[in-house]
């Protein structure tokens, strides 16, 4: 009985709905890497030495920093309803 309760709690905790580039995505981790967020936005994104995506987030966890910018290698704690935007900000 207790084990079942634990499992269902686990499953529930692992399905976090966030918004990436205006669309709902289901995330099953507590923390996301910069690259994982990019893939959520662009399934076929490729990375090399000079690729830079602009990853911004808001409505996040941290009371100090609920909004911010991620660069390559960064991670961020995921929270339900968090909003991410990812584009290649290279047009003028």
């Amino acid at each position: 009985m207790t084990a079942d309760f634990e499992t269902s709690k686990q499953e529930h905790r692992n399905e976090i709905i966030v918004i990436v580039n205006g669309r709902q995505k289901v995330v099953s981790k507590d923390t996301l890497f910069y690259s994982e967020i990019v893939i959520l936005a662009f399934e076929n994104a490729t990375f090399n030495d000079t690729t830079v995506f602009t990853v911004t987030f808001s409505r996040g966890h941290d009371a100090d920093k609920p909004a911010g910018v991620l660069v390559a290698g960064d991670t961020v704690k995921v929270k339900k309803g968090m909003i991410f935007n990812v584009t290649s900000t290279d047009k003028s």
Partner: protein, 392 residues
């Protein structure tokens, strides 16, 4: 010289800021464009003339209460001459090229404290009659006539009376002498030009080898004419011509910046990189680092979701102490994601926003605006309406 006298004397500066058409000529103070009624009740325009008491370069308390007038005798509405100011009717020359027709006297107890008080007193008495006779017209001596920039060191074709009126001449001075480059005169680059052309920087250098075509008109400040579009000018020539109406020192470089011509950037103090191609950006960033020139790189990314646009507008600054951090936020390679940037989408407001953010950050480098955040990169996010900063 006379502009300096006006700027240093609070009473003269106030007259100028309030829009009166003043001139200093041969030591006299002239106020032109004073509306009045002549003997036939016609609306005319005259000039009041006063001697100036000076102590070195600024005015002191007026030594007398008399003014001279160039024009016909001012009348009351529906009546005779304005007698309360009557003094002397004598056409005479008071200095070379200045012939007056009348002299007026209206002496307040204690005299006039300054030239603003003195001149506005006479203006009010004379103009009140004209204003009353022509209630539907804009009858005022505050004509706000454009003042040509005669000062030998002014970079503007006409005086920046905005800084004077706003009282922030000291801040504007911080930008004097700078030589600034804009590489890429697309949407954002052209809006940056629109903004910096209004600052007293010494020189503006434009770099781009593209032509100004019809679709460019929809992401460009101001309004191009059909005639302009037919000319198919090179962008830098089109913009140099348009903004030379305001700023005297705009230089067009109709080229794509490469290793062979990069030396043309050498005299610059600061550069705005406003290009689209990754290879251009990559080259420029490395080259400017090598040349030790500070720069701001701008860029936006727009994507479509459910037929609506979302995206980000980015402004990154790179200075001597922030080279490595800045690079982390600058896209240097072309990506194959679905960046929708159709040239027929009118998003010039995003170009303008990017330009505004870039110019504000640039001004912060010189202490024009305060910068407590010292962010290296700032990004405006469309669908959340947030500006997020990257500090490291």
């Amino acid at each position: 010289m006379s502009r300096q006298l006006i700027n240093l004397s609070p009473d003269l500066k106030r007259l100028s800021d309030e829009g009166y058409d003043i001139e200093i000529k041969a030591g006299f103070l002239l106020v032109h464009s004073v509306p009045y009624l002549n003997a036939n009740q016609e609306l005319c325009s005259g000039t009041l003339v006063s001697t100036l008491s000076l102590a070195g370069d600024i005015t002191t308390v007026p030594s007398d209460h008399v003014v001279h007038f160039i024009g016909e005798y001012p009348h009351q509405k529906g009546g005779g001459e304005i007698t309360q100011i009557k003094h002397a009717n004598e056409t005479k020359s008071i200095s070379e090229g200045t012939v007056i027709n009348f002299s007026f006297s209206n002496k307040p107890a204690g005299g006039y404290a300054n030239y603003h008080a003195k001149m506005t007193r006479y203006i009010d008495i004379i103009t009140a009659e004209a204003e009353s006779a022509f209630p539907l017209s804009r009858v005022t001596a505050k004509s706000f006539k454009p003042i040509e920039g005669k000062a030998e060191h002014s970079v503007f074709q006409y005086l920046d009376s905005s800084s004077s009126r706003g009282g922030f001449q000291a801040s504007s001075q911080k930008l004097v002498g700078l030589k600034v480059g804009i590489i890429g005169l697309g949407g954002t680059g052209s809006y940056i030009l629109d903004l910096i052309a209004k600052t007293p920087i010494a020189e503006i250098h434009l770099f781009d080898d593209d032509h100004f075509l019809q679709h460019n008109a929809f992401r460009s400040p101001g309004a191009a004419s059909l005639y302009d579009l037919k000319a198919q000018l090179i962008k830098v020539d089109y913009y140099q011509k348009a903004y030379s109406k305001l700023h005297k020192n705009i230089f067009a470089h109709p080229l794509k910046v490469t290793e062979s011509n990069a030396a043309e950037m050498a005299p610059l103090d600061f550069v705005f990189i406003c290009v689209d191609s990754a290879s251009s950006r990559q080259f420029l960033v490395r080259k400017l680092e090598e040349m030790q020139i500070s720069f701001i790189d701008v860029g936006m990314g727009i994507v479509s979701v459910n037929d609506m646009l979302i995206g980000q507008v980015r402004t990154t600054i790179s200075t001597a102490s922030t080279r490595d951090s800045a690079i982390k936020s600058i896209p240097l390679s072309d990506t194959e994601n679905d960046n929708e940037y159709a040239t027929n989408i009118q998003i010039c407001e995003l170009n303008a926003l990017n330009a505004c953010m870039a110019v504000m950050k640039w001004k912060k480098q010189y202490g024009f605006y305060q910068d407590l955040e010292n962010e290296i990169c700032s990004i405006y996010e469309l669908n959340t309406n947030l500006i997020v900063n990257l500090n490291q």
